[in-house]
Amino acid sequence: MTGEELKKLGILAKIEIKDAEVESYLKKLNSEIAIANAISELDTNGINPTTHVSELRNVWRDDIVKPASKETFDEMMKVAPETEGTFYKVEKILEA
Protein backbone atom coordinates (compact mmCIF):
# COMPACT_ATOMS: atom_id res chain seq x y z
CA MET A 1 0.00 0.00 0.00
CA THR A 2 1.26 3.43 -0.89
CA GLY A 3 0.67 6.76 0.82
CA GLU A 4 -1.64 7.75 -1.99
CA GLU A 5 -3.76 4.62 -1.56
CA LEU A 6 -3.90 5.26 2.15
CA LYS A 7 -5.17 8.80 1.61
CA LYS A 8 -7.85 7.44 -0.72
CA LEU A 9 -8.97 4.98 1.96
CA GLY A 10 -9.11 7.88 4.41
CA ILE A 11 -11.41 9.79 2.05
CA LEU A 12 -13.67 6.76 1.58
CA ALA A 13 -13.80 5.99 5.31
CA LYS A 14 -13.96 9.69 6.23
CA ILE A 15 -11.03 9.51 8.58
CA GLU A 16 -8.59 12.38 8.63
CA ILE A 17 -5.03 11.18 8.09
CA LYS A 18 -2.43 13.78 8.89
CA ASP A 19 0.80 13.77 6.87
CA ALA A 20 2.76 12.94 9.99
CA GLU A 21 0.66 9.81 10.51
CA VAL A 22 1.04 8.37 7.01
CA GLU A 23 4.19 6.40 7.67
CA SER A 24 3.01 4.70 10.83
CA TYR A 25 -0.39 3.86 9.32
CA LEU A 26 1.34 2.36 6.30
CA LYS A 27 3.61 0.26 8.45
CA LYS A 28 0.67 -1.15 10.40
CA LEU A 29 -1.65 -1.66 7.45
CA ASN A 30 1.03 -3.30 5.34
CA SER A 31 1.70 -5.77 8.13
CA GLU A 32 -2.04 -6.49 8.34
CA ILE A 33 -2.11 -7.05 4.59
CA ALA A 34 0.77 -9.48 4.95
CA ILE A 35 -1.25 -11.49 7.51
CA ALA A 36 -4.33 -11.38 5.30
CA ASN A 37 -2.36 -12.55 2.28
CA ALA A 38 -2.01 -15.96 3.94
CA ILE A 39 -5.39 -17.03 2.55
CA SER A 40 -4.29 -16.57 -1.05
CA GLU A 41 -2.70 -20.04 -0.94
CA LEU A 42 -5.93 -21.74 0.21
CA ASP A 43 -7.81 -23.43 -2.61
CA THR A 44 -11.38 -22.14 -2.62
CA ASN A 45 -12.39 -23.39 -6.05
CA GLY A 46 -16.01 -24.45 -6.07
CA ILE A 47 -16.51 -23.19 -2.52
CA ASN A 48 -19.36 -20.73 -1.87
CA PRO A 49 -18.81 -17.70 0.33
CA THR A 50 -20.32 -17.80 3.82
CA THR A 51 -22.28 -14.58 4.23
CA HIS A 52 -24.27 -15.74 7.27
CA VAL A 53 -23.55 -18.64 9.65
CA SER A 54 -27.21 -18.83 10.55
CA GLU A 55 -29.62 -21.12 8.74
CA LEU A 56 -32.48 -18.64 9.23
CA ARG A 57 -34.22 -17.40 6.07
CA ASN A 58 -37.07 -14.95 5.37
CA VAL A 59 -37.03 -13.26 8.76
CA TRP A 60 -39.59 -10.48 8.73
CA ARG A 61 -42.30 -8.73 10.72
CA ASP A 62 -45.82 -7.56 9.96
CA ASP A 63 -46.48 -4.07 8.63
CA ILE A 64 -47.49 -2.42 11.88
CA VAL A 65 -46.60 1.12 12.97
CA LYS A 66 -45.06 1.36 16.45
CA PRO A 67 -43.62 4.84 16.85
CA ALA A 68 -40.73 5.49 19.21
CA SER A 69 -41.92 6.81 22.56
CA LYS A 70 -41.80 10.54 23.27
CA GLU A 71 -39.19 9.80 25.91
CA THR A 72 -36.92 7.97 23.45
CA PHE A 73 -37.37 10.72 20.88
CA ASP A 74 -36.48 13.43 23.42
CA GLU A 75 -33.47 11.42 24.57
CA MET A 76 -32.26 11.07 20.98
CA MET A 77 -32.64 14.79 20.30
CA LYS A 78 -30.92 15.64 23.58
CA VAL A 79 -27.71 13.82 22.65
CA ALA A 80 -27.51 15.40 19.19
CA PRO A 81 -24.48 17.73 18.93
CA GLU A 82 -26.44 20.47 17.14
CA THR A 83 -30.15 20.84 16.43
CA GLU A 84 -32.56 23.47 15.17
CA GLY A 85 -36.11 22.76 16.23
CA THR A 86 -36.32 19.02 15.71
CA PHE A 87 -33.88 19.09 12.78
CA TYR A 88 -30.30 17.87 13.09
CA LYS A 89 -28.06 20.72 12.07
CA VAL A 90 -24.87 20.29 10.02
CA GLU A 91 -22.32 22.53 8.31
CA LYS A 92 -23.07 23.25 4.71
CA ILE A 93 -22.68 20.39 2.29
CA LEU A 94 -20.69 21.99 -0.50
CA GLU A 95 -17.01 22.66 -0.08
CA ALA A 96 -16.22 26.14 1.23
Binding site: T51, V53, L56, A80, A96
Partner: protein, 481 residues
Protein backbone atom coordinates in the same frame (compact mmCIF):
# COMPACT_ATOMS: atom_id res chain seq x y z
CA UNK B 1 -22.47 -13.83 57.42
CA UNK B 2 -19.17 -12.09 56.84
CA UNK B 3 -18.83 -9.82 53.83
CA UNK B 4 -16.16 -11.94 52.24
CA UNK B 5 -18.37 -15.03 52.54
CA UNK B 6 -21.21 -13.21 50.80
CA UNK B 7 -18.87 -12.20 47.99
CA UNK B 8 -17.65 -15.77 47.62
CA UNK B 9 -21.13 -17.22 47.12
CA UNK B 10 -22.00 -18.30 43.59
CA UNK B 11 -24.86 -16.45 41.92
CA UNK B 12 -27.16 -19.43 42.41
CA UNK B 13 -26.30 -19.73 46.12
CA UNK B 14 -26.61 -15.99 46.62
CA UNK B 15 -30.05 -15.81 45.03
CA UNK B 16 -31.27 -18.74 47.11
CA UNK B 17 -30.17 -16.95 50.30
CA UNK B 18 -31.78 -13.70 49.21
CA UNK B 19 -35.03 -15.44 48.33
CA UNK B 20 -35.15 -17.41 51.57
CA UNK B 21 -34.60 -14.18 53.47
CA UNK B 22 -31.27 -15.32 54.93
CA UNK B 23 -29.57 -12.24 53.46
CA UNK B 24 -31.34 -9.10 52.31
CA UNK B 25 -30.62 -7.88 48.83
CA UNK B 26 -29.77 -4.48 50.34
CA UNK B 27 -27.01 -6.15 52.29
CA UNK B 28 -25.73 -7.86 49.14
CA UNK B 29 -25.75 -4.61 47.19
CA UNK B 30 -23.96 -2.72 49.95
CA UNK B 31 -21.36 -5.47 50.34
CA UNK B 32 -20.62 -5.44 46.62
CA UNK B 33 -20.42 -1.65 46.48
CA UNK B 34 -18.05 -1.61 49.44
CA UNK B 35 -15.86 -4.26 47.86
CA UNK B 36 -15.82 -2.37 44.56
CA UNK B 37 -14.65 0.75 46.41
CA UNK B 38 -11.92 -1.23 48.06
CA UNK B 39 -10.48 -3.00 45.01
CA UNK B 40 -11.24 -0.56 42.20
CA UNK B 41 -8.15 1.59 42.76
CA UNK B 42 -6.02 -1.49 41.98
CA UNK B 43 -8.14 -3.20 39.31
CA UNK B 44 -10.03 -0.40 37.52
CA UNK B 45 -12.64 -2.78 36.11
CA UNK B 46 -15.55 -0.34 36.17
CA UNK B 47 -16.17 2.44 33.71
CA UNK B 48 -19.19 3.44 35.79
CA UNK B 49 -20.71 2.18 39.06
CA UNK B 50 -24.48 2.61 39.12
CA UNK B 51 -24.45 3.21 42.87
CA UNK B 52 -27.66 5.23 43.15
CA UNK B 53 -29.63 2.90 40.92
CA UNK B 54 -28.28 -0.11 42.76
CA UNK B 55 -29.27 1.23 46.17
CA UNK B 56 -32.73 2.15 44.92
CA UNK B 57 -33.37 -1.47 43.91
CA UNK B 58 -36.67 -2.68 45.46
CA UNK B 59 -36.47 -5.41 48.05
CA UNK B 60 -36.34 -8.89 46.60
CA UNK B 61 -37.87 -11.81 48.47
CA UNK B 62 -40.53 -14.46 48.65
CA UNK B 63 -42.60 -16.14 45.99
CA UNK B 64 -41.67 -14.01 43.00
CA UNK B 65 -38.03 -14.94 43.37
CA UNK B 66 -36.50 -16.10 40.10
CA UNK B 67 -33.23 -17.98 39.81
CA UNK B 68 -31.00 -14.89 39.86
CA UNK B 69 -33.17 -12.42 41.77
CA UNK B 70 -31.17 -9.82 43.64
CA UNK B 71 -27.86 -10.99 42.20
CA UNK B 72 -25.51 -8.14 41.19
CA UNK B 73 -24.24 -8.20 37.66
CA UNK B 74 -21.71 -6.04 35.82
CA UNK B 75 -22.37 -5.05 32.22
CA UNK B 76 -19.77 -4.37 29.54
CA UNK B 77 -19.99 -0.73 28.54
CA UNK B 78 -21.08 -1.47 24.99
CA UNK B 79 -24.51 -2.73 26.08
CA UNK B 80 -27.33 -0.23 26.34
CA UNK B 81 -29.03 0.44 29.69
CA UNK B 82 -31.72 3.03 29.10
CA UNK B 83 -31.00 6.51 30.44
CA UNK B 84 -27.44 5.58 31.42
CA UNK B 85 -24.25 6.44 29.60
CA UNK B 86 -22.90 3.87 27.17
CA UNK B 87 -19.47 4.85 25.93
CA UNK B 88 -18.03 1.62 24.52
CA UNK B 89 -14.95 3.27 26.03
CA UNK B 90 -14.62 5.57 23.05
CA UNK B 91 -14.25 9.33 23.08
CA UNK B 92 -16.82 9.21 20.27
CA UNK B 93 -19.57 8.16 22.72
CA UNK B 94 -18.20 9.87 25.82
CA UNK B 95 -21.41 11.85 26.41
CA UNK B 96 -23.89 9.47 24.88
CA UNK B 97 -26.92 8.32 26.89
CA UNK B 98 -28.71 5.14 25.84
CA UNK B 99 -32.25 5.94 24.65
CA UNK B 100 -33.40 2.33 25.05
CA UNK B 101 -32.60 -0.97 26.77
CA UNK B 102 -30.77 -3.82 25.11
CA UNK B 103 -32.88 -6.98 25.02
CA UNK B 104 -30.50 -8.70 27.48
CA UNK B 105 -30.97 -5.79 29.88
CA UNK B 106 -34.77 -6.10 29.65
CA UNK B 107 -34.41 -9.79 30.43
CA UNK B 108 -32.06 -9.21 33.35
CA UNK B 109 -34.40 -6.58 34.78
CA UNK B 110 -37.36 -8.94 34.45
CA UNK B 111 -35.37 -11.61 36.27
CA UNK B 112 -34.73 -9.20 39.15
CA UNK B 113 -30.94 -9.06 38.83
CA UNK B 114 -29.14 -5.95 40.00
CA UNK B 115 -27.28 -3.96 37.34
CA UNK B 116 -24.38 -2.69 39.39
CA UNK B 117 -22.06 -1.07 36.87
CA UNK B 118 -20.59 -0.71 33.40
CA UNK B 119 -17.22 -2.32 32.83
CA UNK B 120 -14.14 -1.13 31.02
CA UNK B 121 -13.27 -2.52 27.61
CA UNK B 122 -11.16 -1.98 24.54
CA UNK B 123 -12.49 0.94 22.54
CA UNK B 124 -15.58 -0.23 20.63
CA UNK B 125 -14.52 -3.81 21.50
CA UNK B 126 -11.44 -3.57 19.30
CA UNK B 127 -8.53 -5.07 21.14
CA UNK B 128 -7.37 -8.02 23.23
CA UNK B 129 -6.05 -6.26 26.30
CA UNK B 130 -8.53 -3.55 27.36
CA UNK B 131 -5.66 -1.13 26.79
CA UNK B 132 -7.34 0.63 23.86
CA UNK B 133 -10.08 1.97 26.18
CA UNK B 134 -10.13 5.73 25.73
CA UNK B 135 -10.46 6.20 29.46
CA UNK B 136 -8.27 3.84 31.50
CA UNK B 137 -6.43 0.56 31.70
CA UNK B 138 -7.73 -2.41 33.67
CA UNK B 139 -5.28 -4.55 35.61
CA UNK B 140 -5.27 -8.31 35.95
CA UNK B 141 -6.37 -9.21 39.53
CA UNK B 142 -3.77 -11.99 39.62
CA UNK B 143 -0.86 -9.72 38.74
CA UNK B 144 -1.53 -6.02 38.42
CA UNK B 145 1.27 -5.57 35.91
CA UNK B 146 -0.43 -7.93 33.47
CA UNK B 147 -3.24 -7.21 31.07
CA UNK B 148 -6.64 -8.70 31.95
CA UNK B 149 -7.17 -9.59 28.29
CA UNK B 150 -9.91 -8.11 26.20
CA UNK B 151 -11.91 -6.69 24.83
CA UNK B 152 -14.22 -7.55 27.77
CA UNK B 153 -11.36 -7.17 30.24
CA UNK B 154 -13.35 -5.09 32.72
CA UNK B 155 -16.09 -7.71 33.02
CA UNK B 156 -13.53 -10.51 33.45
CA UNK B 157 -11.59 -8.58 36.10
CA UNK B 158 -14.80 -7.56 37.92
CA UNK B 159 -15.78 -11.21 38.36
CA UNK B 160 -12.22 -12.37 39.08
CA UNK B 161 -11.93 -9.71 41.80
CA UNK B 162 -15.16 -10.98 43.41
CA UNK B 163 -16.92 -7.62 43.02
CA UNK B 164 -19.80 -9.47 41.32
CA UNK B 165 -20.57 -13.12 40.71
CA UNK B 166 -21.77 -12.42 37.16
CA UNK B 167 -20.99 -10.15 34.24
CA UNK B 168 -21.95 -9.75 30.61
CA UNK B 169 -19.51 -9.22 27.79
CA UNK B 170 -19.46 -9.39 24.03
CA UNK B 171 -17.33 -11.75 21.99
CA UNK B 172 -16.43 -11.22 18.33
CA UNK B 173 -13.21 -13.25 18.13
CA UNK B 174 -12.60 -14.33 21.70
CA UNK B 175 -13.33 -11.12 23.58
CA UNK B 176 -15.05 -12.97 26.43
CA UNK B 177 -13.10 -16.21 26.57
CA UNK B 178 -9.60 -14.80 26.30
CA UNK B 179 -9.97 -12.37 29.25
CA UNK B 180 -11.82 -15.11 31.17
CA UNK B 181 -8.78 -17.36 30.68
CA UNK B 182 -6.36 -14.59 31.64
CA UNK B 183 -8.33 -13.71 34.79
CA UNK B 184 -9.23 -17.23 35.93
CA UNK B 185 -13.01 -17.18 35.48
CA UNK B 186 -15.53 -18.99 33.30
CA UNK B 187 -16.26 -17.17 30.04
CA UNK B 188 -18.94 -18.32 27.63
CA UNK B 189 -19.80 -17.28 24.10
CA UNK B 190 -23.09 -18.86 22.99
CA UNK B 191 -23.78 -19.96 19.43
CA UNK B 192 -24.46 -17.06 17.08
CA UNK B 193 -28.15 -16.25 17.31
CA UNK B 194 -28.93 -17.69 20.75
CA UNK B 195 -28.71 -14.34 22.54
CA UNK B 196 -30.20 -11.21 20.98
CA UNK B 197 -27.58 -8.68 19.90
CA UNK B 198 -30.15 -5.87 20.03
CA UNK B 199 -28.66 -3.07 22.08
CA UNK B 200 -25.02 -4.15 21.91
CA UNK B 201 -22.83 -1.68 20.03
CA UNK B 202 -22.00 -3.63 16.88
CA UNK B 203 -18.45 -4.50 15.94
CA UNK B 204 -18.77 -7.25 13.31
CA UNK B 205 -22.35 -8.31 12.74
CA UNK B 206 -21.73 -11.88 11.57
CA UNK B 207 -19.41 -12.62 14.49
CA UNK B 208 -20.67 -10.61 17.48
CA UNK B 209 -22.38 -12.38 20.32
CA UNK B 210 -23.27 -11.37 23.87
CA UNK B 211 -22.03 -13.84 26.46
CA UNK B 212 -21.31 -14.33 30.13
CA UNK B 213 -18.69 -14.36 32.89
CA UNK B 214 -19.03 -16.18 36.19
CA UNK B 215 -16.91 -18.22 38.54
CA UNK B 216 -18.77 -21.51 37.94
CA UNK B 217 -20.23 -23.23 34.89
CA UNK B 218 -23.56 -23.59 36.68
CA UNK B 219 -23.83 -19.83 37.17
CA UNK B 220 -23.01 -19.36 33.50
CA UNK B 221 -25.76 -21.73 32.43
CA UNK B 222 -28.35 -20.16 34.74
CA UNK B 223 -27.51 -16.70 33.43
CA UNK B 224 -27.55 -18.00 29.87
CA UNK B 225 -31.06 -19.41 30.43
CA UNK B 226 -32.19 -15.91 31.31
CA UNK B 227 -30.59 -13.97 28.46
CA UNK B 228 -31.05 -16.53 25.66
CA UNK B 229 -34.06 -16.85 23.42
CA UNK B 230 -36.13 -15.44 20.60
CA UNK B 231 -36.18 -11.70 19.98
CA UNK B 232 -37.77 -10.12 16.92
CA UNK B 233 -35.52 -7.07 17.36
CA UNK B 234 -32.52 -9.13 16.21
CA UNK B 235 -33.31 -10.77 12.86
CA UNK B 236 -30.50 -13.27 13.34
CA UNK B 237 -31.85 -14.42 16.71
CA UNK B 238 -32.95 -18.07 16.74
CA UNK B 239 -36.62 -18.74 17.56
CA UNK B 240 -35.79 -20.52 20.81
CA UNK B 241 -38.44 -20.48 23.56
CA UNK B 242 -37.80 -21.19 27.27
CA UNK B 243 -34.18 -22.29 27.06
CA UNK B 244 -33.02 -24.65 29.81
CA UNK B 245 -29.28 -25.05 29.46
CA UNK B 246 -28.73 -25.36 33.20
CA UNK B 247 -30.53 -28.72 33.31
CA UNK B 248 -28.41 -31.74 34.10
CA UNK B 249 -25.14 -29.92 34.75
CA UNK B 250 -24.72 -31.24 38.27
CA UNK B 251 -24.51 -34.81 36.95
CA UNK B 252 -22.21 -33.89 34.04
CA UNK B 253 -19.20 -36.20 33.53
CA UNK B 254 -16.89 -37.43 30.77
CA UNK B 255 -17.96 -41.07 30.72
CA UNK B 256 -18.46 -42.19 27.14
CA UNK B 257 -17.94 -38.69 25.77
CA UNK B 258 -15.82 -38.34 22.63
CA UNK B 259 -13.49 -35.43 23.19
CA UNK B 260 -11.62 -34.11 20.13
CA UNK B 261 -8.12 -32.77 20.76
CA UNK B 262 -5.57 -31.21 18.41
CA UNK B 263 -2.67 -33.27 17.15
CA UNK B 264 0.77 -31.73 17.43
CA UNK B 265 0.85 -29.68 14.26
CA UNK B 266 3.19 -26.84 13.45
CA UNK B 267 0.43 -24.40 12.47
CA UNK B 268 -0.71 -24.33 16.08
CA UNK B 269 1.98 -22.29 17.82
CA UNK B 270 1.40 -23.05 21.49
CA UNK B 271 3.36 -21.53 24.37
CA UNK B 272 5.33 -24.51 25.76
CA UNK B 273 3.89 -24.09 29.25
CA UNK B 274 0.36 -24.01 27.88
CA UNK B 275 1.15 -27.05 25.73
CA UNK B 276 2.27 -28.92 28.81
CA UNK B 277 -0.89 -27.96 30.70
CA UNK B 278 -3.01 -28.96 27.68
CA UNK B 279 -1.46 -32.46 27.60
CA UNK B 280 -1.95 -32.91 31.32
CA UNK B 281 -5.58 -31.91 31.08
CA UNK B 282 -6.18 -34.23 28.14
CA UNK B 283 -4.87 -37.02 30.34
CA UNK B 284 -7.20 -35.99 33.19
CA UNK B 285 -10.17 -36.03 30.84
CA UNK B 286 -9.16 -39.41 29.52
CA UNK B 287 -8.79 -40.74 33.05
CA UNK B 288 -12.32 -39.55 33.76
CA UNK B 289 -13.71 -41.90 31.14
CA UNK B 290 -13.70 -39.85 27.94
CA UNK B 291 -12.60 -41.21 24.61
CA UNK B 292 -9.88 -38.92 23.27
CA UNK B 293 -9.98 -38.38 19.50
CA UNK B 294 -6.91 -36.77 17.96
CA UNK B 295 -7.71 -34.61 14.98
CA UNK B 296 -6.55 -31.90 12.66
CA UNK B 297 -8.39 -28.93 11.21
CA UNK B 298 -5.85 -27.55 8.71
CA UNK B 299 -7.78 -24.35 7.95
CA UNK B 300 -7.12 -23.20 11.55
CA UNK B 301 -3.87 -21.77 10.17
CA UNK B 302 -5.91 -19.27 8.15
CA UNK B 303 -8.08 -18.12 11.05
CA UNK B 304 -6.11 -14.92 11.79
CA UNK B 305 -6.36 -13.87 8.14
CA UNK B 306 -10.02 -14.81 7.68
CA UNK B 307 -10.97 -13.17 10.94
CA UNK B 308 -9.04 -9.97 10.34
CA UNK B 309 -10.58 -9.48 6.90
CA UNK B 310 -14.19 -10.22 7.83
CA UNK B 311 -14.12 -8.47 11.19
CA UNK B 312 -12.53 -5.29 9.83
CA UNK B 313 -14.78 -5.20 6.76
CA UNK B 314 -17.98 -5.49 8.78
CA UNK B 315 -16.66 -3.09 11.39
CA UNK B 316 -15.78 -0.47 8.78
CA UNK B 317 -19.47 -0.34 7.81
CA UNK B 318 -20.88 -0.69 11.34
CA UNK B 319 -18.75 2.14 12.65
CA UNK B 320 -19.64 4.51 9.79
CA UNK B 321 -22.64 5.64 11.85
CA UNK B 322 -20.24 7.37 14.24
CA UNK B 323 -20.11 10.60 12.26
CA UNK B 324 -20.86 13.31 14.82
CA UNK B 325 -24.19 14.25 13.27
CA UNK B 326 -27.02 12.68 15.25
CA UNK B 327 -25.01 11.93 18.38
CA UNK B 328 -21.46 11.51 19.52
CA UNK B 329 -18.38 13.66 19.28
CA UNK B 330 -18.38 16.51 16.76
CA UNK B 331 -15.13 18.29 15.94
CA UNK B 332 -15.05 22.04 16.58
CA UNK B 333 -14.24 24.69 13.98
CA UNK B 334 -15.15 22.72 10.92
CA UNK B 335 -15.84 24.54 7.66
CA UNK B 336 -18.00 22.04 5.84
CA UNK B 337 -19.66 18.66 6.00
CA UNK B 338 -16.65 16.65 4.89
CA UNK B 339 -14.69 18.16 7.74
CA UNK B 340 -17.41 17.20 10.23
CA UNK B 341 -17.01 13.61 9.11
CA UNK B 342 -13.23 13.47 8.77
CA UNK B 343 -12.24 15.51 11.80
CA UNK B 344 -14.90 14.13 14.17
CA UNK B 345 -13.88 10.59 13.32
CA UNK B 346 -10.23 11.47 13.11
CA UNK B 347 -10.21 13.10 16.55
CA UNK B 348 -12.62 10.89 18.52
CA UNK B 349 -11.72 7.41 17.33
CA UNK B 350 -8.60 5.77 18.69
CA UNK B 351 -5.69 4.61 16.62
CA UNK B 352 -6.57 0.88 16.76
CA UNK B 353 -10.14 1.62 15.67
CA UNK B 354 -9.05 3.80 12.79
CA UNK B 355 -6.56 1.20 11.58
CA UNK B 356 -9.23 -1.46 11.56
CA UNK B 357 -11.69 0.78 9.71
CA UNK B 358 -9.05 1.63 7.11
CA UNK B 359 -8.14 -2.03 6.71
CA UNK B 360 -11.82 -2.95 6.37
CA UNK B 361 -12.24 -0.25 3.76
CA UNK B 362 -9.21 -1.64 1.95
CA UNK B 363 -10.51 -5.22 1.76
CA UNK B 364 -13.96 -4.10 0.57
CA UNK B 365 -12.81 -1.63 -2.07
CA UNK B 366 -13.60 -2.61 -5.63
CA UNK B 367 -9.98 -3.45 -6.41
CA UNK B 368 -9.51 -5.78 -3.43
CA UNK B 369 -12.95 -7.29 -2.83
CA UNK B 370 -12.26 -10.44 -4.80
CA UNK B 371 -8.83 -11.24 -3.36
CA UNK B 372 -9.61 -10.37 0.21
CA UNK B 373 -13.23 -10.13 1.34
CA UNK B 374 -14.75 -12.63 -1.05
CA UNK B 375 -11.79 -14.96 -0.58
CA UNK B 376 -12.12 -14.75 3.20
CA UNK B 377 -15.83 -15.59 3.02
CA UNK B 378 -14.98 -18.66 0.96
CA UNK B 379 -12.16 -19.60 3.32
CA UNK B 380 -14.71 -19.28 6.13
CA UNK B 381 -16.79 -21.94 4.36
CA UNK B 382 -13.74 -24.22 4.23
CA UNK B 383 -13.26 -23.78 7.98
CA UNK B 384 -16.95 -24.49 8.62
CA UNK B 385 -16.84 -27.62 6.48
CA UNK B 386 -13.67 -28.95 8.08
CA UNK B 387 -15.07 -28.26 11.55
CA UNK B 388 -18.26 -30.15 10.69
CA UNK B 389 -16.12 -33.10 9.57
CA UNK B 390 -14.20 -32.98 12.85
CA UNK B 391 -17.44 -33.02 14.84
CA UNK B 392 -18.45 -36.23 13.09
CA UNK B 393 -15.68 -37.85 15.11
CA UNK B 394 -16.26 -36.19 18.48
CA UNK B 395 -18.92 -34.53 20.65
CA UNK B 396 -16.84 -31.61 21.81
CA UNK B 397 -13.52 -30.10 20.87
CA UNK B 398 -11.05 -29.46 23.69
CA UNK B 399 -8.23 -26.93 23.25
CA UNK B 400 -6.44 -24.31 25.30
CA UNK B 401 -8.34 -21.01 25.26
CA UNK B 402 -5.28 -19.01 24.17
CA UNK B 403 -1.96 -19.94 22.68
CA UNK B 404 -0.06 -17.63 25.04
CA UNK B 405 -0.21 -16.26 28.58
CA UNK B 406 -1.22 -12.67 29.44
CA UNK B 407 1.52 -10.17 28.68
CA UNK B 408 2.63 -7.10 30.58
CA UNK B 409 0.68 -4.06 29.49
CA UNK B 410 2.21 -2.39 26.47
CA UNK B 411 3.45 -5.65 24.93
CA UNK B 412 1.74 -7.09 21.88
CA UNK B 413 -0.05 -10.42 21.69
CA UNK B 414 0.51 -12.74 18.76
CA UNK B 415 -2.02 -12.87 15.90
CA UNK B 416 -2.49 -16.52 16.82
CA UNK B 417 -3.28 -15.93 20.49
CA UNK B 418 -7.06 -16.27 20.06
CA UNK B 419 -7.17 -18.75 17.20
CA UNK B 420 -9.15 -21.39 19.17
CA UNK B 421 -11.79 -19.00 20.44
CA UNK B 422 -12.04 -17.14 17.12
CA UNK B 423 -12.82 -20.43 15.38
CA UNK B 424 -16.20 -20.60 17.09
CA UNK B 425 -17.08 -17.02 16.07
CA UNK B 426 -16.30 -17.88 12.46
CA UNK B 427 -18.33 -21.11 12.55
CA UNK B 428 -21.16 -19.61 14.63
CA UNK B 429 -20.68 -22.21 17.37
CA UNK B 430 -20.46 -21.85 21.14
CA UNK B 431 -17.22 -21.83 23.08
CA UNK B 432 -16.50 -21.80 26.77
CA UNK B 433 -13.29 -21.12 28.66
CA UNK B 434 -12.85 -22.79 32.02
CA UNK B 435 -10.01 -22.09 34.49
CA UNK B 436 -7.48 -24.95 34.50
CA UNK B 437 -5.01 -23.85 37.14
CA UNK B 438 -2.16 -21.40 37.53
CA UNK B 439 1.02 -21.24 35.47
CA UNK B 440 3.60 -19.26 37.37
CA UNK B 441 0.87 -17.76 39.50
CA UNK B 442 -1.21 -16.67 36.53
CA UNK B 443 -4.43 -18.44 35.43
CA UNK B 444 -4.59 -20.56 32.32
CA UNK B 445 -7.89 -21.43 30.62
CA UNK B 446 -9.05 -24.46 28.65
CA UNK B 447 -11.72 -24.24 25.99
CA UNK B 448 -14.59 -26.49 24.93
CA UNK B 449 -16.52 -25.97 21.76
CA UNK B 450 -19.43 -27.95 20.38
CA UNK B 451 -21.22 -28.01 17.01
CA UNK B 452 -23.30 -24.92 16.23
CA UNK B 453 -26.42 -24.66 18.42
CA UNK B 454 -25.32 -27.59 20.61
CA UNK B 455 -24.41 -25.23 23.42
CA UNK B 456 -25.72 -27.66 26.04
CA UNK B 457 -22.96 -30.11 25.04
CA UNK B 458 -20.23 -27.49 25.50
CA UNK B 459 -21.67 -26.47 28.87
CA UNK B 460 -21.88 -30.09 30.08
CA UNK B 461 -18.29 -30.81 29.08
CA UNK B 462 -17.19 -27.62 30.82
CA UNK B 463 -19.11 -28.63 33.96
CA UNK B 464 -17.49 -32.06 33.89
CA UNK B 465 -14.06 -30.47 33.46
CA UNK B 466 -14.65 -28.06 36.33
CA UNK B 467 -15.00 -31.06 38.66
CA UNK B 468 -11.61 -32.53 37.72
CA UNK B 469 -9.57 -29.40 37.01
CA UNK B 470 -8.55 -28.82 40.60
CA UNK B 471 -9.36 -25.13 40.33
CA UNK B 472 -10.77 -23.55 43.49
CA UNK B 473 -13.30 -20.99 42.28
CA UNK B 474 -13.63 -19.43 45.74
CA UNK B 475 -9.93 -18.56 46.00
CA UNK B 476 -9.24 -14.83 45.91
CA UNK B 477 -6.71 -13.77 43.28
CA UNK B 478 -3.24 -13.25 44.62
CA UNK B 479 -2.96 -9.54 43.80
CA UNK B 480 -5.88 -8.84 46.14
CA UNK B 481 -4.01 -10.43 49.02
Amino acid sequence: MKDIDILKLTAVELSAKICSGEISNDKVTQTCLNHIKEVEPKIKAYQLVLENGALAQPKVSGEKCSSLAGVPIAIKDNIMIKNHPVTACSKMLENYIAPYNATVIEKLKNAGTLLIGKTNMDELAMGSSTETSAFMRTNNPWDLSLIPGGSSGGSAAAVAAFTVPLALGTDTGGSIRQPAAFCGVVGFKPSYGLVSRFGAVALASSLDQIGTFSRTVKDTAVLFDIIAGADYKDPMCEPLENPSFSQGLDEANFKGLKVGVFKDVDYIKLDPEIKKAYKENIQKIKDSGAEIVELEIPSYQYIPAIYKIIMCAEASANLAKFDGIRYGYRAKNVRNLTEIFEKSRGEALGREVKERILFGTFVLSAKNYHNYFDKAQRARTVLINETKEAFKKCNVLFTPTTTQMPTRSGAELSEYCDVFSTASNLTGASGISVPAGLLGGVPVGMHFSAPRLKDADALKAAAAFEKISGWDSSKLPSALG
